[in-house]
Amino acid sequence: MSDDIQVAKVFDLKGLACPMPVVKVSKGIKEVEVGEVIEAQTTDPGSLTDFPAWAKTSGNEIVKTEQEDKLITFYIKRLV
């Protein structure tokens, strides 16, 4: 977890393939309040481009992306 971001909920999407990470994160973000941040962990390399595309279209904000070997962690702020 990134130390400067307050995470409301963590979603473990490791091992899931397209379209599951985006489908799950679109459902998951609705489980927190507007303004709160969720953490989504994926191992799907496609999510590196998919998550920003999803965030832009859905009107949410990716505040931070971390990459460590195959693990990609997104911090996404619910805006809508």
């Binding site: 379209p19 679109s26 279209t57």
Partner: protein, 183 residues
């Protein structure tokens, strides 16, 4: 007099806005699934569920070779004529019998692809259909294809939002959708 003039102009603008509103497409994806191949059916459901994740409404219209993909292997219906029986036995009965469009190799390729998908954690066609149902993807089955191939309504899968319709229904949906796809 001036006031009256302005009011008239506002009224005119309002009705024009209403007309424009009616013409603006919804944030919706209308898709035709013509193909009965495993790979294309999978792609169709991946796009459909992905579109819901992107905030769109989705309607899928299954026609021709796409129709038998939605048959339920567990359901048996009687009372078919000879042609209906022939089509019924020759066309795939549901997702389990659907083959790859390429590299099927007498079923070996499809079996290999399925085991590879499992290994790589890619959702199966059955799982994708269940997910689409959960996400509220609407499915129409083409009545004309069913009639041609002798399929009956009772032999289709249990799916919450499944309807039977013709080309006008699809076109109406497509006209109101900002995205249309043919697979």
């Amino acid at each position: 007099m001036d006031m009256q003039n302005i009011e008239n102009q506002i009224e005119g603008l309002k009705s024009r806005l209403d007309a424009i509103d009616k013409k603006t497409a919804d944030n919706k994806l209308a898709m035709i699934v013509f193909s009965g191949d495993l790979d294309k059916a999978l792609a169709a459901f991946i796009i459909a569920t992905g579109a819901v994740a992107m905030g769109m409404d989705v309607v899928m219209f299954f026609t021709f070779w796409g129709t038998p993909v939605l048959r339920d292997a567990k359901k048996n219906v009687g009372g078919k004529d000879m042609m209906g029986k022939m089509f019924g036995s020759m066309l795939p009965k549901g997702t389990g019998a659907v083959k790859l469009s390429k590299m099927n190799m007498g079923g070996m390729g499809t079996a290999m692809m399925k085991s590879l998908m499992k290994k790589k954690n890619v959702a199966s066609l059955e799982e994708m259909i269940a997910l689409a149902e959960e996400l509220g993807v609407k499915i129409y089955v083409c009545e004309m294809s069913m009639d041609l191939m002798g399929f009956k309504r009772e032999e289709f899968i249990d799916y919450k939002d499944l309807g039977f319709a013709g080309v006008a229904t699809f076109l109406q949906e497509a006209q109101n959708s900002k995205m249309q796809l043919f697979l």
